[in-house]
Symmetry: C2
Subunit: 352 residues, 2 copies
């Protein structure tokens, strides 16, 4: 007899009509029950139009028929809020305090590295007034949404992205909003986007220690913060402000990335420290976390980002970013009770 | 007989006990009246402690005595709000939308250039959560203030500066504030600081198009905006958001500065375009304003900024910044009526 697991596996492979993601990836399949001659399938209708619900039913029926043509299939949809459907492995916030140090670059490269390693990855672009992620990934598709959920846009290699720039009529449009509006949009990106089942959600924070980072750190159960810095003393001063913010809010910093560490000039076979001597180790010490990577200034990387092809870039440092996230224990997920010992975290039951 | 003008000139040279600025520079001298055998002097007591008011009286008496020992001197103080005392020639906001492109650098260098040309210059650091100006100018003095006024801190070459970092217990302290608080501090820097009589007030804006730039553009009668960009396409996209914000708010952009335009490698006698081909002209076109300067990446400049010695830096581009501000007509000052033709501005009676 065809087992429940086999049926589940088959159904989870069905691809959504709206975006190139499977029912399994988006946590659409809620429950499956195998009876004598039939199988009952319960699905989340969250974010799916009626038209695509009909399509999905057809696809499921033919997927199951491939296993056993005689099986009777009952399909039901139930409406749930996206935040009840979404599950996340680790939620990593990329922070700096300082602008222009490469938070979006580090967010993007981390996502790329983890995706390459086979993980399900999403990026929540929390930089509402200056979002860079869609441009780096060459995204122009608008997210589809109804009154209850927004579907993320999927990159060439399958990374889910939500950013305000995907919702604006033009990428150069400005949003002249005060803090409360910005906080509201970030909350919507967290609560109303159907992220599905992600191993990693990367949150790209804007500069500063005001509304946007405050909302993210208060509302979203961040597992770990990656702090981005550059060698300039001026930068480290401001990054230390962000470190202090994270500490004030009892949020764990898991590592530090130094960007623009040096420029390698091939013709001279020489590294030039354009912005001064590396201060990566100093920052790591101040943050109480390891220095994960030192990313050089690379005109090729700048070019790829401008052309929306960040997913083509690879380097030792990029690999290191992915491996670090994979190996590093991070603080308890929200479901974890404060005295748990099972989640391999280093938060020691820390809670807000 | 000693004329009123001579007495005025003598009194205006008196230096304040609190900061190395004269009564003339700080608009402390409100009125002077020469009678037969006496002279009446009316002073603003704004920001001056009683102790320093006594000191100033003594200094004035001996200054006048140097002209004519027989003159009787009556000195009176009157309390005014700083905003009634302050006068500004041009108010220039340095904006970008994007972080880390060098807004503070351009603000600092513009101030340095104008100061070198002999002008009275102040910098209002409107980047509340990531202020860079005090560090660049090597400032560690705390501003003195009473309940009615704050005195700016004076740089080595005599530039007035007000920045939140001057008020924090440590430069690495973070301010985890939401928008309204940030707006309030900026308003205080504008209304409660005794700037005195400045030819130029430079306002260094933070990244984004949210609370801080919004407050500045709504509350402060900015004469002109300088837009800072870098060659990266990603940057120009976000700078265009700031350009759109300025246009929405009917604020004149007077010029564009491209930073990090290239790196000159002396050993190769070659310019390397690290972040791609210059887009300065493209940005200038989008902003409807001239390209003022293209500042290269210069490790020496980075070093001086880190050491608080930006005032030692000089280059052709820096000169150009100062000359541009000096020569360029900017929109009417707040006192100017909307149909005036006398202020040589190009705002054509534009008003909010």
């Amino acid at each position: 007899m065809i087992q429940e697991e086999q049926i589940r596996a088959q159904i989870e492979k069905v691809v959504l009509p709206e975006i190139p993601r499977t029912l399994g990836q988006m946590n659409v399949l809620k429950k499956i029950e195998r009876q004598e001659q039939s199988v009952s399938v319960l699905l989340n209708s969250t974010g799916l139009s009626e038209k695509s619900q009909v399509k999905i039913q057809k696809l499921i029926r033919s997927a199951v028929a491939r296993l056993d043509k005689t099986l009777e299939i009952k399909i039901e949809f139930v409406e749930s809020a996206p935040k009840e459907v979404n599950t996340f492995g680790k939620i990593i916030a990329v922070m700096s305090g300082k602008g222009g140090v490469g938070k979006s670059l580090v967010s993007g490269l981390t996502a790329v590295a983890l995706r390459r390693a086979g993980f399900e990855v999403g990026i929540l672009d929390a930089d509402i007034t200056g979002p860079s992620i869609p441009k780096m990934f060459g995204m122009t598709t608008r997210p589809s949404f109804d009154s209850k959920a927004i579907l993320p846009v999927i990159s060439n290699t399958g990374i889910e992205v939500m950013s305000l720039n995907l919702l604006l009529p033009s990428e150069e449009e400005s949003v002249i909003w005060r803090g409360p509006m910005i906080g509201q949009v970030i909350t919507q990106f967290w609560e109303d986007v159907l992220w599905g089942k992600l191993d990693y959600l990367i949150i790209d924070l804007p500069p500063g220690t005001a509304d946007a980072p405050l909302t993210v750190l208060q509302r979203i159960p961040v597992s770990g913060i990656v702090m981005v810095t550059t060698p300039q003393d001026l930068t480290t001063m401001i990054v230390k402000k962000a470190v202090n913010m994270a500490k004030h809010m009892h949020k764990p910093i898991v590592g530090v990335v130094e960007n623009m560490s040096y420029l390698y000039v091939a013709e001279l076979n020489k590294k030039i420290e354009l912005f001064g001597k590396s201060r990566g180790e100093e920052m790591a010490h101040a943050a109480g976390a390891p220095l994960i990577a030192q990313i050089p200034i690379d005109p090729e990387l700048a070019r790829l980002c401008d052309q929306g092809e960040i997913e083509r870039y690879d380097s030792e440092e990029v690999k290191r970013l992915g491996e670090f996230m994979e190996k590093t224990p991070m603080s308890c997920d929200p479901a974890c009770t404060s005295d748990c010992n099972s989640c391999n975290c280093h938060c020691e039951g820390e809670s807000e």
